[in-house]
Assembly symmetry: C2
Homo-oligomer: 137 residues x 2
DNA sequence: ATTAATGCAAACACTTTGCAATGGA
DNA sequence: TCCATTGCAAAGTGTTTGCATTAAT
């Protein structure tokens, strides 16, 4: 379990349940997914609280926001440097733990100060590939 | 000018003006930005028409949607393979015309069928860097 | 006792939809 | 003429905000 208290933040049951849901989660859930899941054990949980907590965690650097899906925000508690594989059909996002050499020339950088990078691969996931071949069109 | 007629689509003045605005544009505008600009010369232009046209162009593969900004959709008429540099302060998106070796092992691919990839770099653009150093905090 | 966090509802921003009117082909 | 496209307004989605209440410290 992440140490939340050490950050000088109040340790509410709501936050605890969001944290434990996120712990080790590799599914890049949206705020709404987190809310739905956590609501089961905590029916009064408000969506606003989910957003608040996510925002706080993001600011603390304990969470990354993934901007891959134009429809909704997704969150990633995996702090190790990694990249993503996105299924164009079902929108599933998988981690890809590979290091790439993304060296840039001075010219390419155009005067930017680079602070990070991220690679996304698009494709079709195994499940969706199976559905396609199995289907009679 | 892109050949729109050849696609079997009606060549309306609205579409023509959107197309000419997009032609050679390297600013990755949002629908709203496109609408604002095009409205100057075409005051009755509807936002719905902008979205319609963008959707059509996207389906035709004459345009790519960039999912970098969680707040709004951005569109990129640059069809050459390229990547992006995003300013974390002002959200400006610049093209970066570099080829990377993004080879993946079978294992890393996790059964996906890869169809494309995209690299995004985060950082601070020259303008925002200047503002920072010039400012008295 | 303090003060931050919660929950609700209302407000927001962006995008999509329904549909009658319009105008390219 | 015909049917796709337009423009408007209304509806829809995801997210944020205001604020009184609650509860962690």
């Amino acid at each position: 379990m992440m140490k939340y208290k050490e950050l000088g933040l109040k340790l509410t049951p709501q936050r605890l349940s969001i944290l434990s849901y996120l712990e080790g989660n590799r599914e890049h859930p949206s705020a709404e997914e987190i809310h739905r899941k956590v609501s089961r054990k905590f029916p009064t949980m408000s969506l606003a609280t989910v957003y608040n907590t996510l925002e706080t965690l993001k600011r603390q650097g304990r969470l990354t926001e993934i901007t891959i899906d134009p429809d909704k925000r997704h969150f990633d508690p995996n702090l190790e440097k990694h990249h993503h594989l996105i299924c164009s059909k079902c929108k599933r996002i998988a981690d890809i733990q590979v290091e790439f050499d993304l060296a840039l020339t001075e010219e390419a950088i155009q005067g930017f100060e680079i602070t990070g990078s991220h690679v996304e691969f698009y494709g079709t996931c195994p499940d969706c590939r199976n559905k396609e071949t199995g289907e009679v069109k």
